[in-house]
Amino acid sequence: MKAAIFWFGVIIVQTFSSLVISAPLTFNTALPVSKGETILRVQYLITKSKDDSSKLDRNTKAWSVVSTVAYGLSPKLAVFATIPYTHRQMETFDANRSTTGIADSQFIGRYTLYHRDFQGGTARIAPLLGLKIPTGSDNERDKQGRLPRGLQLGTGSWDSFGGVVVTYASVNWEVDAQFSYRENRQANGFELGDISRFDASLQYRLSPQNLDENTSHFFNGVLEVNWINQNRNTYNGLKDRGSGGVIVYLVPGAQYITQRWIIEAGIQIPVRQQLNDSALKKDYIVRTSIRANF
C-alpha cells in the first residue's frame, strides 16, 4: 500500500511536471514559488525509535507519505498545504500495536518581505504563518482499546505557528535557514508541548563543475541541521515528565536535478538527544522525495 501511494506520486509528478529548482530536504518553506506556479513535493519517510529507558522497552517504527502543494498567489505571497498519510507501529515487551491513516495537516502562508537579486545570486527573507489542523484522528483504537498518545495520528487540536525563512543562493551553492515556533493547544485533555525549531541547509553543486548553455542536470550534495526543542506534553492538566526535550539532527543528503523533476534523499541522524526522563530516543529518519513544478 505505502509503495503504491509513493509510486502513484512519482507517476503524477513525472507526468505533469515541468521545471524545478533547488531547496532544502527537511523543510518546505524555502521552496521558491513564482506567481501562478504550483509545486508538488511527495516525500516518503521512514522513522525508527527504540533505545527506550522505560520498563516498556518500546520500539516504534513509522512510515509516512507526505504530500505538499505550494502555489504562488503573487510574486511575494505563496501558500503551502501539507497532508501526511502515515503508518505507526509500536512494539513493547507484551504488545504490538499499530495504526494507519491521514495525520494532521498544515497550511502555511509565506510573504517575501525582503528580496535582493544580484548577478548570479539572490537573497530573500520571508516571514511565515501557519495553521495545523486536526485531520488526523486522536481516538484510534485496536482490540486492546484506545491507542497510546504516541501512536495516535493526530493531536485533536488546532495549532498555530510562525517563523521566518532566509535564503541566500548563488550559482554554486545555496543556504537556507528557518526558525519557527508552534504553539500547541489542548484538545480532549491532551496538549502536545510547544515546539521551537531551527533548521539550516547547505546545497552545494558537485556536478557539473563548469556550466555552459547546455547544462541540463545538477547533482547537489546537501548538509542540513535541525534543532528541535519540544516542551513537555500535558495530560488533563498534568505535565508528562517523560516527554519533550531537545533533539539535534545532522542530515547528509543529495539531490539530482533535471529540467523536469528533482529526486532527493537524506538521512536525519540524531547527534544530540537531551530528552526528558523516559522520552523515547530517535534512531534515524530516512527521507526520500520527488518534486516538480507545474
Binding site: 515541468s18 521545471l19 524545478v20 529548482i21 533547488s22 521558491p32 514559488v33 513564482s34 506567481k35 501562478g36 506556479e37 510574486p75 528580496h115 537579486d117 544580484f118 548577478q119 548570479g120 545570486g121 539572490t122 543562493a169 548563488s170 550559482v171 545555496e174 553543486r205 556550466l211 548553455e213 547544462t215 541540463s216 545538477f218 536535478i257 529540467q259 513544478n293
Partner: protein, 100 residues
C-alpha cells in the same frame, strides 16, 4: 519571363525575411541555476516569435532568439521576470542568433 523574374525576387525576399532572426541578450539578476531560468524560459516561449531561449548563468544573461519583428519593451520584460521571482536589468539586441 518578366512575371517569373518578379516572382523569384519576391520568393527570395520572403525567404530572407522568414529566416531573419535576431537575439535579445537579457540581463537578469537572481538566476542561480538552469532550472530558475527554465520557469522564465517557459513564459518567454509563449510569446509569438520567440524561437529559442538559452542562459549564460555565469554572467546572468538570458539569450532569446526570435523573429526580427519581435520587439521587447523594458516594462514587458520587467513584469515577466518579477512574476518569475527575478529582477530584469537590461537588454541588448544582436543582429544574429548564436548558433544552437
Amino acid at each position: 519571363m518578366k512575371r517569373s523574374l518578379l516572382l523569384s525576387i519576391f520568393l527570395v525576399a520572403a525567404m530572407n525575411y522568414a529566416v531573419a532572426d535576431i537575439q535579445y541578450n537579457i540581463r537578469v539578476d537572481g538566476i542561480t541555476c538552469p532550472f530558475c531560468v527554465a520557469t522564465s524560459a517557459k513564459a518567454l516561449k509563449k510569446i509569438d516569435g520567440v524561437k529559442r531561449v538559452k542562459a549564460d548563468l555565469e554572467n546572468g544573461i538570458i539569450k532569446v532568439c526570435a523573429n526580427d519583428s519581435l520587439e521587447f519593451s523594458d516594462s514587458q520584460l520587467s513584469t515577466l521576470f518579477i512574476e518569475k521571482g527575478f529582477t530584469y536589468r537590461s537588454k541588448e539586441k544582436q543582429a544574429q542568433c548564436d548558433s544552437s
